[in-house]
Symmetry: D2
Subunit: 114 residues, 4 copies
């Protein structure tokens, strides 16, 4: 079933949240590499990468109305939540912004899945 | 060089345009499969797919401040332009919306590259 | 935990199977667009695309030793199996080759997950 | 033009090289995070990531016979070469293996492009 104009509009909220989350994760993963104590940032970098990747897949599946969007959404929400928790521990701006983007993405994905 | 908060804000315009273009291309490629005369839509479907993929790469490179963002931007602009031209020929809503998203993406990429 | 040389070798079988599956799905999705009866090929094209995308994500997660590899493997196996079933219904060479690549990928993913 | 069985076979060499390069880059980027002197590995991690991403795009374009495969191949060769040069400077197994995979990929891409 192709996405109708109506659902395209409905989809926009979750697609925007996913896009913001991807960008925040990509930026955070790279910015962490330039922090003094990189060792401490390793879990953050690794989660950022997984989070950006699963969000990209989820966005593609939602945008094209894939039957499998609901399946990957569950995993997407789980990884976004973990990433928000990890980034939220660090005071760097990029971590705090990433945590906020991840939390917003979790919320948007949950509403979409419902 | 990590992207600063300032550049993150500047980046948002092009990242939003890329995200809208990706979503429009994914939707259009799938919706074309449900049109009566699919044969006529084949060039559109193929360009939609290439366009979504190059936009995803470009968005990732820009978001993480990659040294290679400028290189892929050129190819991204070229494919977006071709996709806009092809989609613009068809009267389906999804094609017209995709053409508009591609044109907006070309414009945003050009401003970013300048 | 970084993947050791040992696990890198062990990973090679599943990574090769995923890579072959991605290539077969990409080729099949495009070749289907050139068949006489495209309408009949639409479910095949859509599954090919989802399958290629989930295999790319799974390969990335396995290659970098992500904690989330096991999670996405389950979904990967499910989509590969569906794609094998759908492609297996069609007599085109590209469909038969894609079905075989998907089945080999299911097998490799199951062994890896075990 | 859909890839024929003949070209599918010809494509296999470059697709295998791209797949090995992606896997080596993903593994290396992650393994670098666990080295004692991460700071020194930052350029390596960043190139690994760009290299894996451009190789994924190039593999998709080649596999589906995209008109744009030749364009992205040039950029792919350039990033693979840079990544080989950077990884080649470090004595870690994962860096040396990544450098070798990148060099093999450059070679395969050049032969394919010719």
């Amino acid at each position: 079933m192709p996405a109708s104009s109506a659902s395209a509009t409905q989809n926009q909220a979750v697609l925007d949240a996913l896009s913001r989350c991807i960008a925040a994760c990509e930026l955070c993963a790279d910015a962490c590499l330039h922090e003094d104590n990189i060792q401490m940032m390793v879990p953050c970098i690794r989660l950022d990468r997984d989070c950006a990747d699963i969000c990209r897949l989820t966005a593609a599946f939602i945008a094209r109305g894939s039957d499998h969007a609901q399946h990957v959404l569950k995993e997407c929400i789980e990884i976004c939540q973990k990433c928000a928790d990890e980034c939220g521990k660090h005071q760097h701006d990029h971590c705090q912004q990433c945590a906020a983007a991840c939390r917003a993405c979790v919320e948007a994905c949950r509403q979409y899945a419902a």
